[in-house]
Structures are given as structure tokens and as C-alpha cells.
Amino acid sequence: MSVDASITCREVVEILNDYLEGELPEPERVRVDDHLVGCVGCSTILEEFRQTIRLTGMLTVEHVSEVQRATLLDAFRGWKAPA
């Protein structure tokens, strides 16, 4: 396995989320890019982060309680928008 010696896997995995977010400064981003080309382990983790985000996005949104909905609807009905 040929890996860029300037950055270790242990370091890469801790900045992979920033990498995905596009928040890494240019030189660091390039170092991660270079590292990923040669590193199966870190490439696996990167893809697993992507899958994690995708799976989290499949969670259903929770609901507001009926009591609170009714209370807020009452409040809205009682409110008159200033002209």
C-alpha cells in the first residue's frame, strides 16, 4: 500500500467530515485527496460517512403533539396581523 507519508490515516479520519463539508483549506484538501488515492481503509471510511449521511436523511421527521398543535392554532387564530 503506497500512502502519502505527510498525513496518517489516524489524522485523515478525523478530518474526513470537514473534507466532505468542503471546509478544508486547500493544501490540506489536496493532501487528503492524495492520501485517499492510495488508501483503501480511508476511502472505505469516507464512503461510509456518505452512507451515514444518506441513511440519517431517511429518518422520518417527528411529529408535534396534538395538544401543542391545537394550542398554537388557537394562538394563530387569536392573532391579527397588523395592517
Binding site: 500512502v3 490515516c9 398543535r69
Partner: protein, 219 residues
Amino acid sequence: MATIRTTADDIALVGLLRAGDETAFMMLVDELGPSMRRVARMYVSTEAVADEVVQEAWLGVLRGLNGFEGRSSLRTWIFRILVNTAKTRGQRESRNVPFASLAGDDLDAPTFDPGAFLTVGDAQGHWSTLPFDWRGMPEERAEATETMHVVGGAIAMLPPMQAEVIRLRDILGWSSEEVRNALDITETNQRVLLHPARAKVRVALEDHFRSVTEAGAGA
């Protein structure tokens, strides 16, 4: 479900609210309500007080509707009112909530097991053995409600601020800018909270898929 709204959509929505459109109002309540309640709860002592804060915040939103100019997204603006209301209420309760207790005390800690990496030799810091690869498994088990329970359970275990950041970003699909404005945290904090949140959910998924694999192999 992720929702993307533009400034034009927000202005149109505000117009409906001003006109007294109940459907538009309830749509917003349903979208933002659960998060608002949890965020309020971070700053006040009980669920009941959190409910009061949410209601007070909505009244503040209605009062301020004419002043909304679309400089931030509507949902961000609503959250700012909520957070201010909750903080004021928390102060009145003399409840001092340190940021660390909301954010978690593990923000500087490594999110990967140090044992996964070599500690000696030329390849120090590189993988000692390759990580468990579950990349193909969600596809095979796309509808598995079990997988969704794992994700939901992992998020529920997170410190409150980490949990809210990942919910707003990845469940509701907000941008990082919206999240930091809504929760009144810095850009750095948003990043520093999101990373361990996603990393812990990934670990929960890894553990889950590994146990599924082992159970399959043992059967």
C-alpha cells in the same frame, strides 16, 4: 424529509401567514415544532417550561412577522427568536447551562478507536487492519427498519447540541450556515459538533452491520 426553500418561497410564506392562512402556519409548526421543543429544553428546566417557551416564541414570531425582510431564512429567523426566548427564560430560572454540557465533553477526543492504527514502525498512524467494510450493506437491506432504528438510537444518545446539529443538517437538510445561525453557535462550533455526531452514527452502523454479518456467518 429535507426541504429546500428559497428567499422567494419564504417571502411568499410570510405573505400567507400575514393573511392568516392556517394551513401555512400549521405546516411551519409541524416542520419546526419538534426541533424547537428540544432546543428550548436545552435552556430551561422542564418539558412544561419548554412548551411555554415554544408557544411564547411563536407569538413573538407572529408579532415580528411584518419586520421579516428575508435577510436570513424564515426558519433561521424563527429559531433565533426561540433561542433568545429560551435563554431569557433560562436566566429567569437562574439556570446556567454551560455550553460544554450541551455540546458534550468529547469534542477534542478522537472519534476512532486508537487501537485501529499502528503505534510503532514506519507506518505508524496508518491502519493496523483495514476497517470493517459495510458500504454495500445498506443497499442490500434498503428497507430495513432495523437500520433506521440504529441511526435513530445513535442520535438519541448524542449530547443535545450534537444531536440537534445532525438532525437539522442531515434529517431536515438545512445548510451549515442556517444551522449555526439558528442555534446561535459559531461556524467552528457547527463543524466541531457535526463531526463527532456523524462519526458516532457511523460507528453505530458499523457495529450493527458487523453483528448482522457475524450472525449470518454463524447461522
